[in-house]
Every structure is written in C-alpha cells, then in structure tokens.
Symmetry: C2
Subunit: 332 residues, 2 copies
C-alpha cells in the first residue's frame, strides 16, 4: 500500500529544520504475526524530538539517517495480526511521522477509549504532554497546598497544564513566559495567580513581586537565565524539576552559568531530571485525571493544528521559535 512518510535525511547539530527531513512516497509492508497496520490521523510535535535526532548520546537511540522520524501518533487500526488489537481500534503510540504505520504491540502506548473527547488530545494533553505535567507535579514536585509553584514556558503545552494541576492542588502558581501577551495569557487563560514576562527589563523585580514568599517548587522547561532567577529565590526544602532546556538551541559549546551548588546546599533543595518515558506506568492515571478535569472545564488547553504531512519537517523548529500557539499537532 502506497503512503507517505517523513525520514531524517541529514543530521542537525542544533534545532532540526525542514532541510533535515524528506517527505517521500513509500510502500507499507505486509504484516508479520504480532503486528498491526495503523492509518495515522494525527502526529505529535514535541520538544523532545530535538534530542531524538541529534547524534549526541541522549536518553534514547538517535533516529538513524533514512529512518522514519520517531513521533507520537494516533490512528485507526486497519489491519491486525495481533490478538490484542482489532480493526477499528484507536491506538496511540510511537507510530512515527507516516501515514501508515506497521508496528508491534511494544510501540503502542494505549488504546484510546475516551471517545467523547477529540482524538488529537491523545497525543497532547492526554499523551506525553499531559503525562509530563501530571507525573512531574504529582510525583516529582509534590507540592503542598499553599506553597508557591513557579513554571517556566508556562504558556506552553506542558507548562500550562502543570500550572493548572498545581492550582488544582491549592498552590499559588506563577507562570513565566516570553512577552507580555504570553505572560497575560498565563493568568487570563490558564489561571496562574501571576504571569511574569522574562523578556521584560524588570523581570527580576517582577518575579520577586510575584513570589513574595519565595519559591517552593519549580517546574523548569527552560534552563538559562530564567532558571537562575528562580533558583536564587528557592526556599528551604524546595524542589525543582528539570523537564526541558528550551533556553539553549545547542550545548556545544556548553553553556556556563552561576553555580547552583551553594543554593542547593544551604536550602537543602532537591533537583530532579524528568523524562515522561520513565513514567509510562502512570499514563492511565494521568489520562483519567486529566480527562476528568477537561470534562469539568477545569483544564484549559490549546492546540495548534497543522494540516498534512508536508507540514512535519518544519514543525519542530516552530516550537523553538515560539511560532506555535498551543500544543502542536499535525492532522494528516
């Protein structure tokens, strides 16, 4: 069966752009026992993809040159030689940037059963994005009611959900975002108690004003000077989760910054790195909790939808230029 796929054609050093991928015609192979064929309807675009295509050692094997780009996708099973899946099932998993995916059960993360909600959510707020926010807040930061939770990239897909989850736990939430519009959106759309624009010349004073009692928990998506400003305000026994390093498009040369050890020591702070892949067993709980919040209107989320597989090659760079306005999804 003919279909189209997006392969990695040259390896980027920093942020992958359209020049690193090729959209090409391909033939979907016959099924082996244990495999299913999925007609993909939505593919996800996530910041983690940068790491998947870089050559440097990372938490997962780099995508090989000529290979279909790795991604979360959702679609309909159109043929099955796996006893656990039948034609018509909707499945979400590592199906890649392609119109037809032939995969084994190990690539499928879950069957999508919340048919009352848009299917695209399964690769967004009910997928890696939601799992990241949910597991990060509930199992790494573990905030108590009344504590102050700061989120960077707070108007972004993960950050906006993290802030709303912390607010639902009774925390004071402060969102940091780039530009006055995004800072305002943190408050007006996503319900943060305060929004701070890190591009403002008064950023440090604004952050101090927004965190009069210091910072108890920090959900960090950026690293860089934003993080330095937050770290300087950490309270005793603060926790900080490193979820992303969006401030840097490359770690070669390695960025320098103020050492954190003195603050870590004197405040007895805890800092942990977080990858949603380590928390897959929490996905059912995360989906259940987040879907309920969506149904009750207590979780606002934005999607930015591109159309057609041709949009895929340029989509990752949009995340780093801030051109997207919500969780980026491509509808095939």
């Amino acid at each position: 069966m003919a279909h189209r796929e997006v392969v990695l054609s040259t390896r980027p050093a920093g942020i992958p752009g359209p020049e690193h991928f090729t959209v090409q015609e391909a033939t979907s192979p016959p099924l082996q026992d244990g495999q299913v064929r999925v007609r993909v309807t939505h593919v996800s675009v996530d910041p983690a993809m940068r790491g998947w295509v870089n050559a440097a050692a990372n938490y997962s094997r780099p995508v090989g040159l000529g290979e279909v780009m790795r991604s979360f996708s959702v679609g309909d099973v159109v043929e099955s030689r796996h006893p656990g899946y039948a034609e018509g099932d909707v499945v979400m998993g590592m199906l890649g940037w392609q119109e037809l995916a032939v995969v084994g059960a190990d690539a499928i993360w879950r069957r999508v059963t919340e048919t009352d909600l848009p299917r695209s959510l399964s690769v967004g707020v009910l997928g890696l994005t939601g799992l990241t926010a949910w597991a990060g807040v509930t199992s790494v930061l573990r905030p108590r009611p009344g504590s102050t939770v700061v989120v960077s990239s707070a108007a972004g897909a993960v950050g906006s959900v993290a802030g709303q989850l912390a607010a639902s736990m009774g925390c004071r939430t402060v969102g940091i975002a780039g530009g006055p519009e995004k800072a305002a959106r943190c408050v007006e759309e996503f319900g943060f108690d305060a929004g701070v624009d890190y591009r403002s010349s008064t950023f440090l004073a604004d952050l101090a004003a927004a965190t009069p009692d210091g910072v108890d928990h920090y959900f960090d998506n950026t690293s860089g000077p934003i993080t330095d400003a937050v770290v300087a305000r950490l309270n005793p026994f603060a926790s900080m989760m490193v979820c992303g390093t969006a401030a840097y498009s490359s770690w070669d040369p390695w960025p320098q910054g103020p050492r954190m050890e003195r603050v870590i020591l004197t405040q007895r702070a805890r800092i942990e790195g977080f990858l949603a892949f380590d928390h897959l067993d929490a996905l059912p709980d995360a989906v259940a909790a987040l879907a309920d919040l969506i149904r009750s209107g207590d979780l606002v989320h934005r999607e930015h939808t591109l159309t057609g597989i041709e949009a895929a090659p340029g989509s990752i760079a949009m995340l780093y230029s801030g051109a997207n306005d919500g969780k980026l999804v491509i509808e095939l």
Copy 2:
C-alpha cells in the same frame, strides 16, 4: 567561675582566620532552672563553621559579634539544675568554644555512653561528621551493591567515612583528594577501590579510568571543577548529594561553571543538598552503626588533635588549607 572563651570579634567575608576571634577570660554565670554547667573537654572544628560566622543568609542565624563561637563540644556535667542530667554525665552538643558552658537541654544533642571509645569521637566520627556521612549515604544517596560511588574530599573527615560506609554496602568506591599522598591514602588507609588526585594534570583521564562504568552516586564536598568532572560522568538515575562547597572560599562574586541542567535532564539525575542538622533524629542510629564498625575494625578514622583553647581561632582556616590530617578536634 573564671574560664576562657573564644568570641567572634570581627566578621570575615570568606574563610575565618585567627584575626576574627578573641580568646578572653570570662565568668561562667550562675545556673538558671533547667540549665547545666559543662566542663568542656573537647571542641570540634567543622567546615560548617565558615557559614555560621558569615553575615550572608544561611541555614542558621549567624554568630553575633562578641558572642561565643558556636561549635560542637563534649564535656562533663559539673553542676545541674535540669532533672534529666546529673553531675558526671558526659554530654555532647552545641556547647561552643569555651571551657565552661552553661546551657539548657536544647543545646545537648545526646549523652555519650560509649565509654569504651575515646570521648573525642563524639564530636567527630560519632558526631556531626559521622551523622553527615551515615545519613547522607544511607538516606540521600541510597546506593545499591555494585554501584559506583564517588566521594570528593575523600581523605577528609566526612568523605573517608562516607566511602567506607558505601564500601560496607557493597559499592565500588572512588575517592577524589588533593595530591598524590591523599589520593593514595584513600586506597591504603580508607579502603577506597581507587583514589584520584584532582591536582594532577591527568585528573580527567584518571577519573575516567577509575569509573569505567560511569558514576551512580556522588557524595560532593567540594563543588567546582572536581564536581564538573564527576557530573559529566553521571549515569542514568544517578544521585548526587551536595554536602559542602570547599572549592570556594567565597561566593562573592558568585562562581560560574558549566550548567548542570542538561545532564540532570538526560540522566534523570537527582541532586540534593544536605545538612546534618536536618537529620538529628538519625543520630542514635548513626552512632550505633558507626560505633559497631569502629569496634570491629571496619571503620578507619583519623583525628588531628590541637591542644588548648588558644588553638581555636586559627583552626577553621586549617580545614580550608588542607593543613589538618584527620578530623580536627581541640582538646582543652
């Protein structure tokens, strides 16, 4: 009753030296109800004291000008108006740099009952030093048998105990110390599997050779370039404990270094600051465990003893110049 005490006379910006203290005659005041008078026999000299006398906000109130220098000390109760203590009891606690201490029960950490061991140990390997190593290894690092544990300042009082505890838990232990003699001592005296001299021009290669399987746990007493070298070798799910920052005599101006966030994220590392004061409830367990290891000959420790209260003012600086050879204690 006349005695001598050491007071903070001027406030240091960095490492406190003899010029910042005054040894003076004083009169030990009459006891109030609930107080005891202790004839101090041994006072401790600890790296934490630097932080206690600096003006900068820290984890505890700075020692005031004209106040007796805060310290761990051990001595004999010579007079008691507290029902829980009697003349002849041996007590360890925050008794300060003075020959006679008048304190309430809140200053006393414990009654010293292991009379088969030298009393001075109660302010060293059976005091803050031992508690730091024991609680740090067992409750923060939590290494598994077979994992690689790296310790900086490994020939020092805390580091040498931390390494031996990790070895007793079945870990491969690597000690980092300054100079070939101290590096050799890590192996020969304290039983580390390898000792690495951070002053050597081949430090990075030596560290790599000593940690062929990477670093699973890092007990950090130094910060600085030593830590940068270890952080670059952290394995997935590594843990690192910040116990001290001996590489810096001042944090003004604030030292810069390679950012840790990328490693924390990709390795899902956990970094925690540690102060023994947060773990006082573990002291009885730590003393019991460490005293048993000492009795069985499985815990080697060194003491460096100075004599007389006149030695106190210059003693803290010795820790930072490396002039001491073991846990520094002053016998009065």
